[in-house]
Subunit: 341 residues, 2 copies
Amino acid sequence: MATPTTGRPTPESIFNLFNAFQNTAALRTGIELDLFTAIGEGANTPPSIAAKTGASERGVRILCDYLSILGLLTKEQGHYALGQDAAVFLDRKSPACLASMTGFLSGPWHQRNFNLLTEAVRKGGTAGSEGDNTKPQDEVWVAFARSMAPLTIPAASFIAQLVGAKEGKACKVLDIAAGHGMYGITVAKQNPHAQIVAVDWPAVLEVAKENAQAAAVAGRYTARPGSAFEAALGDGYDHVLLTNIFHHFDKPTCEKLMRRVHSALKPDGRAVTLEFVPNEDRVTPPTAAGFSLIMLANTEGGDAYTFAEYEKMFRNAGFAKSALHPIPDMPQQVIVSEKAG
Amino acid sequence: MATPTTGRPTPESIFNLFNAFQNTAALRTGIELDLFTAIGEGANTPPSIAAKTGASERGVRILCDYLSILGLLTKEQGHYALGQDAAVFLDRKSPACLASMTGFLSGPWHQRNFNLLTEAVRKGGTAGSEGDNTKPQDEVWVAFARSMAPLTIPAASFIAQLVGAKEGKACKVLDIAAGHGMYGITVAKQNPHAQIVAVDWPAVLEVAKENAQAAAVAGRYTARPGSAFEAALGDGYDHVLLTNIFHHFDKPTCEKLMRRVHSALKPDGRAVTLEFVPNEDRVTPPTAAGFSLIMLANTEGGDAYTFAEYEKMFRNAGFAKSALHPIPDMPQQVIVSEKAG
């Protein structure tokens, strides 16, 4: 339940905050039962939705009511329909469907680490027994690569545009901690003269290679398995993509990585960073600012850094200047950093 | 993070719903560190709050930012203060403090059962290995009795007023599934001529007896350990209190209990039911309607019943008429049912 915004304090908002985890569970269950697709296909009552999803009528009725309260469904005269977010992002027949994200965002490591949040606040970093999630953990990062690709669509197009992919000039692009590889692959799809080099741990790069194959850019896609901090990155790159990586590390580690990126770029090359970048107050905008807690729970020293912090780190690493570009409708922003001034 | 209410669908709202469980974790951690009390006592920066709570500055800064995003704290020029909900309900020095609720609402059984929500929807009832939470489970219900008393204050006063406690007439009150006992105890405190009989499982009644002692009404407080369905309830009661019990059961079971209540009442006696009562649409008001999912996850056949459903069940059990009374600022309502018309 959303916290009610009554003017006066009531126990109800606290009660609902205690129960906020139930919203996550309801979304995950709707996805696991593929209930949104069933409703998108026309099932609109508990019996018809139950028949399509193999669930009980009683369970479906209660879940659909809850999803209606959350705004994912609408309910009129006992008939359910998809709300606009669900129609676009949760129906598997929608090209923008994000349902696969449940594989990463609902992974057991998140719940485990957030169950230890009190200890993480005491300590100032993750209290998870697996330690920092910046270590090679195939369980986590293959799940990431397999799950999160659909979420990249708006940002990947935005980045491809920022690097002038449609102009079609020959260029070399390095994709650091590529994951699913979709950022580099999107550049390659839009620019037939782009060569992509992807760095990530071996098991994760297998997913990126599959995606490059599926996008018919495998011939211009080179995998360099290894850590972004240790693998030979090569050099002479026009662009280096750093998508959702800095937030895992403390500032000295970010600077260290950015110095490697600086060396790998051509003299007029640019680093392109995708990140959750809160305002200086660190409490707005909410999703970018709130991302910091995810890093506290999951990493030793990661954070959602402000633009001023990034600008300084990147300057320390040798970059002449950086500029911030908001992405329409996304909680992340892009920082373009020029090697030369 | 609250789901943003932009007009157009964005991935951000889905992303935030996947992460809603983090709001629960942040609240729980704030309570476990007693951070709200520390801020209430004047600590207002990460170093001073860290010193008072024994936590790290970095962890405190990130947690306080997150709690500010949630609206529990405010942040101005890097200084935190309690938001109005936190000041009233989360500072342990506030008489209305609800912090102890974390003992029940954050109990491991809730997370366990919600982790099995998909199976519960398939089955139409709890998939928890402990089975239905209506069985005598001391772990759960002693935690309830120890944790939830502060939340009863508004409803207990409302109920005491409904049963005319301040008029001070001699009366016998039966408190079914008394838990912490606060509903009956509040009547006894306001009416020195009220005799209270409390029914619950033995370990739970120990908590009620402690509370009766603390309220100086133990001399008029009788414990009858056992199940509400099997214990000898006695008879000749003016009022029977049924607070937050029916939602655990299916309709035939509710009727069965209400027939026992009918027998226990004097001819002009009244049953007083406290419940989450959604409107006929079952999706409003949000907290009462959403309570149904909690019962799906935790019980075999419980639900948040509408007033029409209660009215019919209670009529079937012999009650002449029932009337619904909303409680100001609370998500629950009171149903007063008259044995005779």
